[in-house]
């Protein structure tokens, strides 16, 4: 019993309007990126791909691409490793209550405003008041956490703290979906806990790896709050979103829009398959 089109449009009207606005935003970025629109030339003169050649000859943008890619690669790698480790450890306990309590515990950084986390970590990395005090008490060499490229590695580490528990959650959700009889038959065969995890549970949980990878990649592409609240526009931690925001703040709108188009295109490689195929297959289960 399908809803009449008119009725559908009426019930979904505000949402349809908002979706149109957001899609208009994608189109606007593409259009403006082909013009000379900026503070210096506040007119929509068509310049074709000129903006893009300006964008890609800006070393700051090339740097931002490299930083964002490094961030994505390391967050995918370390996030999955840490997430899997935590998930496997939590899975060893039998009690469902304990499992869900522990899982929530590791997810808590996602409930804290990233700006607040930025404030805390900035001080934890402080050479006079932070980790270094304790390192030198233990007789270990001090680390310049936030100087030069160290800043990038340190903040990538912080992002693993932010998202690691969330990735563990994805793995655990996958573990719980491993058919009970598969686990039972492995146990009957005398598998110990390590064999059970390595040969049965983890191989059955590829969806955890896939979703963990998809979302750590997407979160890395969106990285803004954390580097911006710790180091503002420091060149060593300037991600693509910070670059884009900076150009916008200085009213160089066409370059900002071109950076947005590049960022959207990059995320589309993952987002389009996920939004068209992944959701239907894994969540809605209609395929």
């Amino acid at each position: 019993m399908a809803l009449k089109l008119r009725q559908f449009a009426l019930m979904a009207l505000p949402v349809l309007l908002f979706i149109i606005i957001l899609w208009y935003g994608i189109g606007w970025n593409i259009y403006v990126s082909l013009t000379s629109y900026s503070l210096y030339k506040p007119r929509l003169d068509f310049v074709g791909l000129g903006t893009y050649s300006d964008l890609f000859s800006d070393t700051a943008f090339i740097n931002a691409i490299k930083i964002t890619f490094a961030w994505a690669a390391l967050l995918v790698l370390l996030g999955n490793l840490v997430g899997l480790l935590i998930a496997v450890a939590i899975f060893q306990f039998e009690s469902a209550r304990l499992r869900s309590l522990l899982t929530s515990y590791f997810v808590y950084p996602l409930a804290v405003p990233l700006v607040a986390s930025g404030v805390i970590w900035r001080w934890l990395f402080d050479s006079a008041k932070g980790f270094n005090v304790y390192l030198s008490k233990l007789g270990l060499p001090e680390i310049q956490w936030l100087s030069g490229w160290n800043a990038l590695w340190s903040l990538i580490g912080v992002s693993v703290w932010v998202y690691g528990g969330f990735i563990a959650l994805l793995y655990l959700a996958a573990f719980y979906n491993v058919p009970r009889d598969v686990i039972d038959s492995a146990l009957v065969d005398g598998a110990d806990a390590l064999t059970l995890m390595a040969k049965v549970v983890i191989p059955h949980s590829k969806l955890g790896l896939l979703l963990g990878t998809i979302f750590s990649f997407l979160f890395a592409l969106q990285m803004f709050d954390l580097p911006y609240s710790v180091l503002f526009t420091n060149p060593f931690t300037m991600t693509m979103v910070i670059y884009m925001y900076n150009k916008f703040a200085y009213m160089i709108i066409n370059i900002s829009a071109a950076a947005c188009v590049f960022l959207i295109a990059l995320s589309a490689i993952i987002v389009i398959p996920y939004a068209t195929y992944g959701i239907r297959k894994w969540i809605l289960k209609v395929m």
Partner: protein, 279 residues
């Protein structure tokens, strides 16, 4: 009881990782109850010599205004986004066919691409709307509210569509066959059945809006209109004294953390649905 090596190893791993995980929160709490002298002299992870709540009271007074602003925006925006989102989700579900095949992916694409990439066109639209309507929108609370709605309603619709899609179709169809209007079915049948999913979406959206920094940063001037801006305003103040900014960060993080402590399972469910791990 049989000794289990795997449980022992798991315990060791979890004790180590959970200590690391709590460290920032511990530093936050410890730092925000340190007195000025204590904060100047002692490193971050040392316990406060004598807990001093003056800093936190001062931070609360300083932050109360922006907390109120954030609440005034985020709470109604959350409810409205989830309500109209769930209604639209139900309409998509009922309409079925091509609408159900094409509209959710269109929503999902805008939800999962970096949302920051759409802020400039949105602000330019807001500027045009100001000229047409002759009402200020940029740098106002209601303008921020509108932009939150535009961003988060599609996301809420997607989550609610996922929950709605899990409903048993027979119940909904039976109600329609009985001659109930779609809106009545939504109110009497769908909403009660969707209870937990609805709450999960609400909680997830509320935390997102409270914690969002980029949208208020781009949409407003100054630091007063959103709590994350207010926390950020402390970062610029250099020096060696961290108790003030820790107190501010603690106060600003308290509402989402309390929600997380008491309604964490809804938050986790919303998060899992958002990222495909849920059912």
């Amino acid at each position: 009881m049989k000794f289990k090596l795997n449980v022992l190893v798991a315990t060791v791993i979890l004790v180590a990782t959970s200590t690391l995980w709590i460290l920032p929160l511990y530093a936050l709490v410890a730092g925000s109850v340190k007195s000025l002298a204590d904060a100047m002299g002692s490193p971050l992870l040392d316990l406060p010599r004598i807990p001093d709540f003056e800093t936190i009271v001062r931070a609360f007074n300083a932050l109360a205004g922006s907390m109120l602003n954030t609440a005034i925006i985020a709470i109604p925006a959350t409810f409205i986004a989830v309500l109209i989102g769930s209604l639209a989700a139900f309409a998509i579900y009922l309409r079925g066919g091509r609408v159900a095949n094409y509209v959710p992916p269109l929503i999902a694409i805008t939800t999962y691409i970096p949302y920051q990439a759409l802020i400039v066109p949105l602000i330019s639209l807001i500027r045009q709307a100001e000229e047409v309507l002759k009402v200020p929108l940029y740098d106002t609370l209601h303008g921020l509210f509108i932009v939150f709605l535009i961003y988060y309603t599609p996301m809420a619709t997607l989550l609610m569509f996922i929950f709605t899609n899990n409903l048993p179709r027979e119940i909904v169809e039976a109600a329609l066959v009985d001659g109930m209007k779609p809106m009545t079915v939504y109110r009497r049948v769908v909403l009660p059945l969707l209870g937990p999913g609805f709450v999960a979406t609400l909680i997830f959206m509320l935390v997102q809006m409270w914690n969002n920094f980029f949208i208020p940063l781009s949409m407003t001037r100054g630091y007063e209109k959103h709590i994350t801006l207010r926390i950020f305003s402390y970062v610029g103040q250099a020096g060696t004294i961290y108790n003030e900014m820790f107190a501010a960060a603690a106060i600003g993080s308290l509402p989402p953390l309390l929600i997380f402590v008491f309604l964490g399972r809804y938050f986790v469910r919303g998060l899992l649905t958002f990222t495909g791990g849920g059912r």
